[in-house]
Each structure stands twice: as C-alpha cells, then as structure tokens.
Symmetry: C2
Subunit: 360 residues, 2 copies
C-alpha cells in the first residue's frame, strides 16, 4: 500500500493506494467520527462490492446503510441529491455521521455534494472504483451536480476525510472506462511531468495489462501531481486551472454529445485541439501536438471530432465554451502546452484559429 498526502492545512487527508476493501471499516474507524454511515452506490457497483464494504463496516460496529442511485450521469442532479438528504434525515444522520462514496465520478460528485451541503457539511470518504475517479476526482475536493444548462454548474468544494483505493476493482472495470481514465493520466504528463509522459509511452503494455506495480506508479504519480497543484491553489484562483488542460473543448464536446460520451474521451480530443492551438499560437513546436496525439491514440482514445456521434457545429462548440465556468469576464482562458510537461494559462489565443482547427 502507498499513501499520498494531500496537503491542505486542517483539511489535509490521505489517499491509500492499494488497500483492500476489507479494510474499509478499520480505515474509517481510525477517523474517530460518528457511528452512522451511508454508502452511496449505483446498482452496478452495489452488485460487485457493496457486500464486501458493508461487512467490513459492520464488523467495526458501524450502523451502515446503502443508498442506491440509478446508473448514469443523468442522475447526477439536484433531485438525486435531495433523495440523499431525505434518506439521511429519515435515518437521523447528524453532523458526525459519514457518507461513503463507493463508485466512479458520478457517485463521487453527487455523494460529495450531498455531504458538502447536508447540515452545511458532514464528513465523507471516497472509495473510487474507476481509474478516472482514482486519478481525478479523488484529489481536489470538487463536488457537484449537473444543471440542465450545464455540467457541474451546481457544486461546492468539500474535501474528503480519506480516499481508499483497492486496485482489484479495476479488474471488473470495462476496458473503455479504464482508457477514459488514462486520458486524465496522460494529462498530468503533459501539464507537469515530461518524464511521466515518457513512462506512459514506455510502459503501455504493463499498464493496459493492469500490472499492479505499474498501476500503483501511474495512480500515485497522478495523485501526487494533482495534490501538488491543488495544495498550492485549493479554490482554483490561479494555478489549479492548469488541470483544465483539454477540458474547455472537452466539456463543449460532452455537451454536444448530450453527456453520452465518456469524460476521458472528450478530454482526450480536447487535449489534441488545445495542443494544436498552442502550436498555431506559436507557444510550442510542432512536435508537441504530434506527441500528444500519438500517445493518446496509442491508448485507444479518440483524437478528433470524427469520433462524435454527429459532428457539432463550430458555432455550437464556441457558444458552449463561452458559458463554460472557466470563462471570466466573458473571455475564455485556455491551458496551452509550451512543451511536454509544461503549460501556460492564457487569454492570448485567436478565436479564428480555434474555429479553423475545429472546422478542420
């Protein structure tokens, strides 16, 4: 097992990489919180892992219950957050009670938002069951739900008490979901660590074969990078925005596809376009978009808009980006690479060039 510490002052917490779900009970017991626990889960993960987690919790004397949310991003909304509140109130959960988010990003965001806003915030523990949730949503404290007019438009910052990762769960994760997570992993290489980018290039087979040591390295390094960035900028005032590399175009693609495309796939395409925009803007040489596209493609991820179910209009994407929450005072900031391992956050890009790249 390897521990990554997320340094956020009194909100600091540990990520345990490579523990067993059987240890969920003792790990939570060590936090010294209340006796009541709600495990939020979707039907798929419930069938696979809820029993193991519940038994571990009950063996430690916790009063644990399961709250089931239907599968799918479309249920990450205020109505389901409200359903969680109602369950918690019905069972007299108080401020020392705890929510466990057992699942992927949807469950983590939704359960985290409920924890952030129930009685103005109760503790929660994340037990991510997807690679994406492990490398992305487990660090940073972003929680939220979707609004019909935009993804993650309603939310709060709320740090977990602990993040518990059993790598065995990745064996039941659909291949496409694993690859979607790899898109975010590749992102960390591009924005922060050229050597990590090279590692991903040189260890493709081990990673895709779920080699335990390779997975621990990949997840640990991803969490370390994100923790370092978030530790310097918890509330997204500046530096943290680099984590949005690939996400500006990516979110617009997700919306154009009505959120039916996997997040990582949309981000993969977004990273390619952002890298091309960086080259077109003169921020990097041609090798950067080439290497980014090549690595993404080598992990079986999409690299252009032809992968969408129907090609969106240039104007449609531009409009969505304008309302994207990274917009400030009307002008969209882009995260653009200057080389592999380094990015800048800039408003200095030409709309016409982006339009040409998207139309291209």
């Amino acid at each position: 097992m390897h521990t990554v510490k997320v340094p956020l002052g009194e909100r600091s917490y540990d990520i345990e990489i490579g523990m067993s779900l059987d240890q969920t009970g003792p790990e939570i017991k060590s936090l010294g919180l209340g006796q009541k626990i709600a495990v939020v889960v979707n039907p798929t993960v419930k069938a696979l892992y809820a029993k193991q987690v519940m038994e571990s919790l009950k063996a430690q004397g916790f009063m644990a219950m399961v709250i089931v949310i239907p599968d799918g991003e479309q249920h990450k909304d205020l109505d389901w957050a409200n359903a969680i509140y109602t369950s918690l109130l019905t069972n007299a959960f108080d401020r020392r009670s705890l929510i466990v988010a057992l699942g992927g990003g949807v469950i983590g965001d939704l359960a985290g938002f409920a924890a952030a806003t129930y009685m103005r915030g109760i503790p929660f523990v994340q037990v991510p069951t997807t690679l994406l949730a492990m490398v992305d949503s487990s660090v940073g404290g972003k929680t939220g739900v979707n609004h019909p007019m935009g993804k993650n438009m309603i939310g709060a910052f709320h740090q977990p008490q602990k993040v518990l990762m059993d790598l065995e769960v990745l064996k039941t994760l659909p291949k496409e979901e694993f690859l979607s997570g790899m898109a975010e992993v590749i992102k960390y290489g591009v924005i922060w660590d050229g050597a990590f980018f090279d590692y991903l290039d040189n260890n493709r087979d081990r990673i895709l074969g779920l080699d335990r040591d390779a997975l621990i390295h990949v997840i640990r390094r991803s969490c370390e990078i994100k923790a370092e960035v978030v530790g310097k900028d918890e509330r997204e005032g500046g530096l943290r925005a680099i984590l949005n590399f690939g996400h500006t175009v990516g979110h617009a693609i997700e919306k154009a596809e009505n959120y039916t495309m996997r997040h990582g796939e949309a981000v993969a395409i977004g990273m390619v376009y952002a890298s091309r925009l960086a080259f077109a803007t003169g921020l990097c040489d041609a090798s950067v978009p080439e290497r980014v596209e090549k690595l993404i493609a080598s992990y079986g991820l999409p690299t252009n808009l032809r992968s969408l179910s129907r090609k969106p209009t240039v104007q449609g994407l531009m409009d969505t980006m304008q309302i994207d929450k990274k917009a400030e005072g009307g002008k969209v900031k882009f995260v653009l690479p200057t080389k592999i391992g380094e990015v800048v956050i800039t408003k200095e890009w030409e709309e016409q060039k982006l339009r040409e790249l998207i139309a291209g």
Copy 2:
C-alpha cells in the same frame, strides 16, 4: 457610518452600518469583481428598495438584473435555489459575477446558498433589510435552504464579500419583525455581555423609537459579539454553538408551528426555557431566568408555549430536538446560562426536567 470587521483570514469582510442604499454601487465597485450582478429580492422589498439599489448599481456601469422570489419562508427551498441557478446560467453569469441579497433572512439564506453553490461558489454581498438579518445572518456565513423534514438542513458556509446596512430601511419594517430581531439582540447580551444586556434594559424607548445612535450601538455590538465568536470558530466546531442559545427549543417550536411563527419569537421562548433549564440543572441562580424572561417580555416578545397557535405535545418537541442538527451522536447539547453574560455548552442536563418545564 460604522464599520465592523469580521476576522476570518482571507475570508474577512466588513460590515458597513449606517450607509445609504445609494452607495450600494460604489461599495460593490470597490470590491473589484465582475460586471454582472443579480439582485435577489422578494416582492415586498422590491417595491420598496429595488429601484434605489438598481440605479446605484447601474450608475457604476454594472449589468444588474433582479431575481424575484415570492415572499415567505416556504420558498426557501431547493426549487427556488434552482430557479436562481437557471437565471444566472441564462444570463451567462460566471465565477466573477456577483449576487446581492437584498432582504431579510430568507432571501439572505437562499441567495447566499445559491452563491455558495453556483459554479462551486461566487461572490455575494448582503444588504439586509430586517433587524434580524442585520444582527444575525449578516455575520457567520451560514447559508441554506429548508428540506420538508427540517429547517436549514441543506446549506453551506459561504462568507459574503461585504454587508451593507442602511438603517433607514428599518422604518418600513413591521413592528413585529423588528421585535423578532430584538430577540437575537437580547441573546447576545445573555451569552456574552452583561453590560449590553443592561443597555437593552435601560434604553428600551430609544431602541423601540428607532433612535439612530441607539440602533447603531445595538447592531454594532451584536455584530461585534457574533464576529468575535465566529472569528474563533468559523465552522461551528465548538464555541460557535453558544449562538444557538434558545435555538434548540426555538427550532422545535418553529417546526411545531409549521414555520408560521417568527424566528425571533420562537427563539425568545426558547431562551426562557433554556434559562429555566439552567436553573433547574443548578447552573445559575433563579434571577437569571427571571431577568431573561422580564427583558424579553418588556420588548413585547412571547415567553412561553401559550403563545403558540396550538400547544405542541412534549414528545413532539423532544422528537424534533433529537433530529435537530445540533444533536451529535444522538445526545442533544444545550446552551445554558451560568449568569447574564455567560453560557456553557453541555450535555449534562436531565431529560425529565426539560419535559417537566415544557409540560409546565
């Protein structure tokens, strides 16, 4: 004009007591935020003050719009929070845009919650128009909405950028609303400052006559006390709980009355019962509940359950208190006075004595 500073590190802010609503624009301009402002208001306050505020904002070049929420606590819910999100998204509000809560506690809590959760938090400014909102909700950063199963059960901590108080607005406030605010003012005397308690006893006519200097003193001292408490305990880990003096029974009364009774009236009754419980528990001498009851009554506030539309059952009140969010690990903490100006937070009280007092 008098300024009270609320000391919360990077979340510190100023309360301006005695400014004019005509200065809303310049005051907000000085914050250096975005250009878009949504003024959240109910129809009553809109008719009285929205024009003055909007003109002041527009004179400073802000793009300001009004969002109207129907009058009444029953609209402080998730649906109306969602209506605010929709308005903000429709008008492409971003993270630098601002919400102004122009109104009493309902508008402040609801608009503050929307600000806390829109795009994971945007700035907001409170312009309280009731005495209760001035002395209570303007300090502390508590925002929230009601759930059918409990008041303020959904919420977040979110500090305003600034609080602007024009005392002229108190002239249009119904007398009962003013008195309801005085209940919280009296609370500060009991929990923190015996001299302030005496001031309230000795200056009743000036205060009830809305004498400007007396009002400034009352509001300033109330905000100072709350700011001092909150500054030491922003997230309600310990000390801050003393602000709940009178609120445990008070909230149960509000629920028993289906939230039709004014908050301050319920708290007034709650303070009397808490003071009696303190005496019954041997924490203070008999003069404390006597003086508390006498001062409360002298401001025309209710002091016992006979003021309710129908007498609640003892068991009903006890049950509600159990689910109250101050409950921790199942045992309710009470804030009980040891003398005028000092309280303790304790689980050491006898249920039977409370039952007798309530039944009494």
